[in-house]
Amino acid sequence: MKLFSNTINNLEQALSQSTTKQRVISNNIANVDTPNYKAQDVRFNNALSNEMQKLQANKTNNKHFDFGSTSSGYQITNRANTNYQHNGNNVDIDKEMTEMAKNQIHYNALIDRLSSKFSSLKTVIKGGN
């Protein structure tokens, strides 16, 4: 029987997504005054779209690049449907700060879950002592 269930893997993946999101938000905030900069967004692919993007092809040399798209489960896109400032920049600072606050709480919650998962495993290992 597996000692570590899927929970830890899932949490790990969610943490990595949250880190990526933080990186993109930081970058948007960093470029808030850069003319013609377009705000970026992270889209996380679900399992279905991952499967659908898989390409049936054989690699003839292992130095070849992988077929199909990202294996990382997310892609960074430019944000559309927002108004541009006069200098062509479309970073909405209020939105970015809100997203960042949300992301931070999400991240902390994930860490809490992960920690408590480990501590319950520890309890089991010690036999409740």
Partner: protein
Amino acid sequence: MSIFQSINTSASALTAQRVRMDVISSNMANMDTTRGEMVDGEWQPYRRKMVVTQPQGNQFSSFLNKAMGSSSTVDGVKVTEIVEDDTPFELIYDPDHPDANDEGYVAMPNVDPLKEMVDLISSTRSYEANVTAMNATKGMLMKALEIGK
């Protein structure tokens, strides 16, 4: 991808905003400087300077990475250039001034204190936003160290 990528991104923005503030300070300090630079043996007034910023990661490697589906295209902002404002100098009548021309007019720098103050406030706010973003990242990294404790 380094775990400090987000912090480096925010740091690059802090640097850029700091440069903007330095340039604004220089503009404000030289608001009345009639001897900015010597051109053909004659003094020219100080010209207002501006900072040009660009997102980092406009190099070939990042475009290749993007085309390959990897996403390391975001890594902050950088100051590429400091350019001069081409607005004409303002002529002020002051015949006693050592730099006055034959008609008694002195060319004054094209610095508008109003513009500079607005830029300064915008720059300060951006700086603060980036400090907040950096603190958030720092908090997340410190929290990550608590895993398993």
